[in-house]
């Protein structure tokens, strides 16, 4: 495994298709864009393969997003994988990178994203379907271009704090005027290691603090939910269960949030 990112950026021109896990530094994405590379965001479900195919490599009780990344890495034809293992990601990704480097015949390159240049968070504060805004935020990780045609900010009526979930269907329950906080906001801002931004929330609006089950961020989500005057802590594994949906639905309705 390559430990130094600089030569890894230099060799990008040799590749045609790369996969990314987490948010690699903007310099990596910029060079990949310049060379016209196809970028696959391995954190999202991309292939129709059973999540169990990751089990020889990762425990079954493990972050569903990283298990998904492993399934993608095993089934997509990639030339290299860039895994962010810096303060903007997690130890689980670091260990996953180690395992993938041995399991795959392609370079698995660790990066350490400490970018501080803020791109802004217009989608997090816009009025639009939450699921589509989250899709746009995650798609944005594959581009280094500044945001164009930024949507206007709306007054929030609810909050969603957390990472983009493995199963986006939970987002269907929120009103269009839901503001996005947490790591998803850092993602749009292209500063995934900005822990201060990640910890921000709006105490004025009922907020769901979401984390993937078995993710270290469950601790932060629950801690912040306790500080927030009107919060629901929620962790979900692979799929949104009926009880998770019911909790969000009940929380929003009983908090007086209009759909």
């Amino acid at each position: 495994m390559n430990l130094d990112p600089r030569p890894s950026i230099a060799i990008l021109s040799r590749f045609r298709k790369i996969g990314i896990i987490g948010v690699p530094p903007l310099e990596v994405i910029r060079k990949a864009n310049e060379h016209g590379l196809i970028i696959h965001d391995l954190d999202e479900p991309l292939v129709r393969e059973d999540l169990e195919t990751a089990s020889p490599f990762l425990p079954r009780v493990y972050c569903a997003i990283l298990r998904t990344a492993v399934v993608n890495a095993l089934h997509l034809e990639l030339d290299a994988i860039y895994v962010d293992t810096g303060p903007g990601k997690c130890d689980c990704a670091l260990h996953t990178a180690t395992i993938l480097a041995e399991a795959l015949p392609i370079p698995v390159i660790r990066t350490r994203n400490t970018d501080t240049e803020a791109f802004g968070t217009p989608l997090c504060q816009a009025r639009h379907r939450l699921i589509e805004r989250m899709l746009a935020i995650t798609a944005g990780v594959k581009s280094a271009a500044p945001y164009q045609n930024q949507p206007p900010t709306c007054a929030p009526t609810a909050g969603f704090w957390g990472v983009p979930p493995r199963d986006f269907s939970i987002l269907e329950l929120f009103p269009e005027t839901t503001h996005i906080y947490g790591w998803a906001r850092c993602m749009e801002n292209k500063t995934p290691a900005d822990h201060d931004l990640e910890a921000e929330f709006n105490p004025e609006v009922p907020t769901v603090f979401f984390a993937q089950s078995f993710c270290a961020k469950t601790a932060l989500a629950r801690y912040l939910a306790k500080k927030h005057p009107h919060a629901l802590y929620l962790d979900v594994d692979v799929h949104t269960t009926s009880s998770a949906r019911a909790k969000v639905q009940a929380f929003l309705e009983l908090s007086g949030v209009k759909a």
Binding site: S242, R245, A246, Q249
Partner: protein, 222 residues
């Protein structure tokens, strides 16, 4: 208008048009498949009605209808899951629904009573308890205790107390709680809580449905 709370083990009904308005109850396994109601809640509710209210909302509305205080914790212990609603200053402050870990507690308690031919009204609350987080996983504690010489009734009582303590912690360990659900009828379970308990019975969700039904513009949930 007929209301139905379709639980895993028992279904409860209330006909708002019937004189007296007393709820009825039937074992879920005996429920006719063609049953239809106007408004439903519960694990199986979506199959039997066009309009469905999720169980947490039904529980909260039931609590609002039955409890006069502004601050309370209402815990529902059913066959398949446990859930609670906490109100402060008349507003929702916390909630929880445990259908995965901590599941099948009520079902397991009833299963054990029948298998070992026990009568929970005759069992005293034991001093010791098992650390139980799940009805299924907790069974092995019973078997281990019986093998080591603990009488079956004592082992099952420890299990039931462990389940009550788990539910109590899940609800935030309040000094007083209102209890709802089928386990309200189990004196061993109710007596195992280490706090003051007010028993509301197994029809709280129906009362919540009734409150929803009487709303002028009720929200529709598919």
């Amino acid at each position: 208008m007929i209301l139905g709370d379709f639980g895993t083990s028992y279904c409860k009904f209330l006909d708002l048009a019937a004189p007296g308005g007393e709820p009825s109850i039937i074992a879920t396994k005996e429920l006719p498949s063609q049953t239809r109601v106007d408004l439903a809640t519960g694990h199986l509710g979506k199959r039997f009605a066009d309009r469905y209210v999720n169980e947490l909302i039904a529980l909260a509305r039931g609590g609002e209808a039955l409890i006069e205080e502004d601050e309370y914790v209402l815990l529902d212990c059913g066959s398949r899951d446990i859930k609670f609603i906490k109100y402060q200053n008349g507003k929702l402050a916390d909630m929880g629904w445990n259908a995965e870990c901590g599941a099948s507690m009520g079902f397991t308690i009833e299963l054990l009573e029948r298998y070992y031919e026990l009568d929970y009204t005759q069992l005293r609350v034991p001093e010791q308890t098992f650390s139980v987080t799940c009805g299924v996983l907790g069974m092995s504690d019973i078997f281990d205790a019986v093998i080591s010489g603990v009488p079956v009734a004592e082992a099952v009582a420890r299990f039931v107390k462990g389940i009550a303590l788990n539910a109590y912690r899940f609800a935030g360990s309040p000094p007083h709680l209102y209890l709802s659900g089928g386990l309200c009828d189990n004196p061993l379970f109710v007596g195992s809580f280490p706090c003051q308990v007010t028993v509301l019975g197994r029809f709280v969700l129906l009362r919540g449905l009734e409150a929803e039904a009487r709303q002028p513009n009720p929200p529709t949930q598919a």
